[in-house]
Symmetry: C2
Subunit: 502 residues, 2 copies
């Protein structure tokens, strides 16, 4: 083993420092000004869905909680920080004894979420809640992005198997690893990533590459050898020429297997060329050779739009391998989630809401500790969500006074109010997941999380799931929250943002 | 610590399984068919630059080599693989004793590279070279992408400091970590990522966030407190309103520091709004208050295009924080690098070149073990690169017969040939970095790598560095390689690709 291998990849015990430097300078400042034990409340939310998306699938929470619970500054970490010359020794001693003490509520992984909703709410010592910002953003932004992308691709695939193939094009080893996990949550059936299989229990799939074929003297010999090694071969048919070489050789091999009494399903993968035309040709060649229902897998720069288009063209593909565009969410590779201070606890124990202003209304924060409530019709379909202040009595709502978040104000008005009025039941989405630094509540398995996502996507109105121009799902602020926001906007220093009338 | 924290993040000892499942099925197949010790040669190259790019900066090699040298299958790995039911016990025993034996040549990190060039060449047992495909692609694709993006942003920034801020929007912890490393290679001066600072020695930077300001009762108090804690404060001025609150409060605090005899440079960060207008206002307010040369840092969804545009508008920004668009290369978040079998060693020791055909000429591989030669003018500027077969005498070249790679055939012709004829000297770019599984040659430091990138970008012709419509740098195939490619295309089964005349 090389001398510094262990230095070159993320290790869990390094992760206290997986943070932005300004979190540490702020922590040092809170410590130095005697403010470290002030109690603060922060919310995680995102401002925009990726383009064309009507919903998102929350993901990344379980890994985040593991990280928080285990957070420690090692001697090596402290030695590094000391060498930077920016921090007092006494502050570093404080970090040495640091143990997480925060309390976290969050929307369970696999839940459908929308812009501006508090997906995670942390209360705890200001100094600690500040530190956690970067970890929260790194874990939730990426995994939510990929679970959401997978859910879209799943919508395009229908019930066909979807294999996530992204490892080679992912953004680093962990981009692949946590990405494979999120893709599975969002609807992939399996992954090519063996480590994700080992760590998360995701089914792994894969057969052979062009190099297998090229390492033999000819393609037929390569196919025969592969079929001799494994019971259910899927033969990759485009190393030389799909129509004149790959498919005829594959038909030959599956006929030989049949003649030998092996009941293999004819199965090929197409990885280039006109997938619609080639899949129809493959289907015709196999069915003419007496193979009913051949497995015809396709890969090659696929995404939900291309899959939907291939289906529209009547392509005979019935299994999809999606790599780059799933694992990176290539059209929109970052979810712009933010983590904002929403309240400070005063000496008397009361919470004082805080707001960040902006000339851009979408960047103005919603103040205060919150509840997130979803309203359903009597068939269990979600109708609208309401962001409420903590402590509002749940039956006190007068939806006639609710406000949509500012950037959506022009998009839903009466239809949003009607949805809340008509609801048959409602549900609080923020659940306790950590208390005083210790995990609480059930730990869902990855299968639980995946099932929740599937059920929730299934229950969403079709209009919200359109791949283009989806209906905007109604999210509003409760009347007390809307009033509080306006009050703070009026009070804030140097305000220049436009204020609502009243 | 939670019971399964150690299961949830990539650990180095897990990385043997950071591979696509089909590599393992192929390995099992090579083993079972008695082909595992055949010797193969694979090349890594990419087919396309990201849009608008004239060049790429190779990165990721050092981490890849560490991974390869330390590659072992642990008992835990083998237990997992055994449980899949797909592999013979004797094959798993073989994996238990697996030690890398391959020989690798590669272009040093920080070298400027172009499409179709062999950036890395592996020779070794077929079974091992196959396994390494995924690790090669995961390491080199992402880091090369990000080093390249950073180099473009550096071109837009001129000599201004460039801070990489991407951790919160990166694709997982390692997307951030190896991304910070690659960004530094490409031209960032520092990072916000503390772990990247600790592991790679990259300078870390950062001051405070909106939450620092919001945790105080007012902005002025927050600024004073921050300035009391750290010697060179950079105050974030857009929590409430930049022009009427943030900047006036910042001027007040820097005046107070001056009055107190602290020689602080006035320094602010703008994170929203019209950065051109606000930076000019900040400059005016500070210079009118007697602060020469204020540091005016900007962030907020910046990329090379926005930076170039802000400079064109005369923005007074002199330090740039770039996050999302750098760490994800957001316009094009994956480099489509591939790893292709190019030759098999026959029983007599001779190498037999192999080719993969495709109806898409860009996907057709260049066969054979190779050299990559760069030609320079007498001022040291690169003129053209030639991909040659290994064993061609370096002085045998008749550039008049060289061919550009197929997809570029229409773009450079005589100008390319002229470049090779006119060269004052040439250089072989592929260097030995591993022999029989052991690293060889010098291990460059990160600073060495970064300096190489800076020097090489500096020497590139300006036309190749344009941010839009760059000139295409000339890359050609040597006459023997071009002839070999045509010969193999003619021989291959079921060929349907168009052949050149002759």
């Amino acid at each position: 083993m090389g001398p510094d291998v262990s230095q070159r990849w993320a290790r869990r015990e390094d992760l206290a420092l997986l943070t932005d430097f300004y979190q540490l300078t702020m922590m040092g400042g809170y410590w130095k000004t005697g403010r470290k034990d002030l109690t603060a409340c922060f919310n995680y939310s995102f401002r925009d869905l990726p383009p064309h998306n009507g919903f998102a699938v929350a993901a990344g929470l379980e890994q985040l909680l593991d990280l928080v619970e285990g957070l420690r500054f090692t001697d090596q970490d402290l030695g590094y920080l000391s060498g930077l010359g920016a921090f007092d020794g006494a502050f570093l001693d404080y970090l040495r004894d640091f143990r997480p003490r925060c309390t976290i509520e969050a929307v369970p992984e696999g839940t459908i979420v929308f812009p501006h909703e508090p997906i995670l709410q942390i209360e705890g010592p200001l100094i600690e809640a500040q530190l956690l910002e970067t970890a929260v953003l790194n874990a939730l932004n990426y995994q939510t992005l990929i679970a959401t992308k997978a859910a879209r691709i799943r919508l395009a695939c229908g019930d066909d198997p979807l294999v996530e193939f992204g490892l080679r094009r992912a953004q680093g080893p962990d981009g692949a690893l946590s990405g494979s996990r999120a893709a599975y949550i969002g609807g992939a059936n399996s992954t090519s990533n063996v480590l994700a299989g080992k760590i998360f229990g995701i089914p792994v799939r894969g057969t052979h590459a062009h190099s297998w074929v090229m390492s033999f003297d000819n393609e037929l010999e390569a196919f025969r050898a592969y079929a001799a090694c494994y019971p259910d071969p899927i033969l990759l048919v485009d190393t030389y020429d799909t129509l004149t070489s790959g498919l005829p050789n594959a038909v030959t091999v599956f006929k030989e297997l049949r003649a030998a009494g092996r009941p293999a399903r004819a199965a090929v993968r197409l990885d280039s060329g006109d997938l619609a035309r080639l899949s129809k040709a493959a289907y015709r060649m196999f069915t003419e050779a007496g193979f009913e229902d051949p497995l015809i897998a396709a890969s090659n720069e696929l995404d939900e739009d291309l899959i939907a288009d291939l289906k529209r063209q009547g392509a005979r593909i019935n299994s999809w391998g999606v790599g780059t565009h799933l694992i990176t969410s290539s059209q929109h590779p970052a979810l712009g989630g933010v983590y904002k201070l929403v309240a400070m606890r005063k000496g008397d124990g009361a919470w004082e809401p805080r707001i960040k202003l902006s000339s851009n209304p979408a960047k103005m924060t919603d103040p205060g500790r919150k509840r997130l409530v979803r309203y359903y019709d009597d068939a269990g379909r979600p109708l609208a969500d309401l962001i409420r202040l903590d402590g509002e009595a749940l039956d006190s709502i007068d939806p006639g006074q609710a406000s949509p978040p500012v950037p959506f104000a022009e998009r839903h008005d009466l239809s949003f109010l009607r949805a809340v009025w008509d609801a048959a039941r409602c549900e609080e989405l923020l659940q306790p997941v950590m208390r005083d630094g210790v995990r609480v509540g059930d730990r869902p398995t990855l299968e639980d999380i995946r099932s929740r996502a599937r059920a929730q996507v299934g229950a969403l109105p079709e209009e919200v799931k359109r791949l283009r121009n989806p209906e905007i799902y109604a999210v509003g602020l409760s009347p007390p929250l809307a009033a509080e926001k306006v009050r703070l906007m009026r009070q804030a220093p140097g305000r220049s943002a436009p204020l609502p009338p009243g």
